[in-house]
Amino acid sequence: MGKQSLKIALNKLNLKTPIIVASGIFSYGEIDIGYLDYKKLGAVVTKTITINPKEGNPQPRLWETPSGMINCIGLQNPGIKEFIRKKLYSANIPNVKTIVSISGESVDEVKKLTEMLVKKDVKVIELNLSCPNVNRQNLMVSQNPEDTYRFVKAVKEICRSKTLIAKVSPNVTDITETALAAEDGGADILSLINTLKAIAIDTEKRGVIEGGLSGPAIKPVGLKAVYDTYQKVDIPLIGIGGITTGQDALEYILAGASAIGIGSALFSNPYIADQICETLTVFLERNNLKNLSDATGLLNEKNKTGAKKSRKKH
């Protein structure tokens, strides 16, 4: 191997590899699953934490679908206090950054959560905007650009010196509008995408399983979200959605992602982190690129025309 480096900087966030384990996939990082090579990981995002404990949804919570799965875990978590007491410090894997994911149904809630984490000197926070907004009947925060802006701004004001990642939902007409709102609100990095709303039908038990679709089935959707958003915003992107192989990760990088999030594929592919590192390194070598950042957005239209579309500010 040559001098190629997979180190990457997303604004102030420095990672030794671009591989981030997405939220909800790896509990709080406290469990050693034995088969994952931590040396290949840049960061782990915790399961989303809320103000109060959440017991989560009843069974069934999982359903396999063609090339993917539906989950409806229902954000089961012990609440922020218990998280800080028991889980926060157990989540430290040597040389792997811990990113704490939070979610709230109101601006007040996300502010409180952020205050508590800042007090504990948590350096990177991911704001999961796929939470229902109490004031808008079942609409997620990130389904409304104004709300997205307000939530992100409120959190950023409290954690100015920290890194704030906004994670947006693909369940919108135009994801770049949400992305722009989050950027204007002060997000340092964007994570996209979260799961797609979906259902499955259990004909045997005559039930409907409603939840979020993930896995290879959503990869083309995530890729387009990254591709389009890269053309509109200036902040770095974490590409997530259906990454199952090294090739998938490379495609996300070339579309415009600076780093990538692995999600449900981690449940079945123990070698995924090694495969991604291998594919990315080989690509850099073959193309005589020194740094991974040289590959980000390489195949994006934006880098061909150079033009960035004009836009209105929030």
């Binding site: 699953i33 088969y35 017991e55």
Partner: protein
Amino acid sequence: MEAKSFQIKKNIHLTEKLHLLELEGSFLQSPVPGQFIHIKIDPFFLRRPFSIAGYNDNTLKILYRVVGRATEVLSEKEAGDSLNVIGPLGNGFPVNNNYKSIFLVGGGTGIAPLLFLTDTLIRKNLNISFFYGARTSECIAFHLLPYGVDYIFSTNDGSYGYKGLIGEVMQQHIKKNGKPDIIYGGGPYQMLKQLAKISAKHKTPAFVSLENRMACGTGICYGCVTKIKDKTGWEYKRVCKDGPVFNTEEVIWENNP
């Protein structure tokens, strides 16, 4: 736990839809009865969990029933093919040297972890009764059953052994011959639920292996949870990580799981 490729030694059709899979190889950490493995069966996205039915001489045994798409594909695999396996996973049955008289109660493929348990208990010269419930005589895996144990059978249609539910048969047995020191069980939810009732009634501890749909199998996704009692009421605990073996007393048994 580790992830590793195992070569198939045997994959044989036993009875009706029951199959025996023998994999060649070993884990760094020897599995104990009650633990399970997670097998990748292409082209399916999620792995499939199976109880370990036996482990010795570099051989890992699985007893499975074809119920859907992945188990169908599994049944078509041949000796020499490889399967990627994560394991051993979960917690085994608690064993205690004070238990001298033991009831094993299994239904369908739920007998799998009990076969492995029998293998390890048999060497200890204990008094073991194995209650085996099946739908019909055709569903019974006779030649997998080890010697040195008393077997009591029941079938839904009465084609072999008693006619009726295995839990009821065990209940009758207790009335006639007294209760054991411990009950270990595996099988359909409703059967385990009935075991829990009998165990409470006769004040005999019972440990059962639960099943649920799984994604990670390692405790990181919170997909496979079931209601388990705690100090204040109950909490959703993970079948894969906190189980799959639970004390029947701790489980909140539901009408429609």
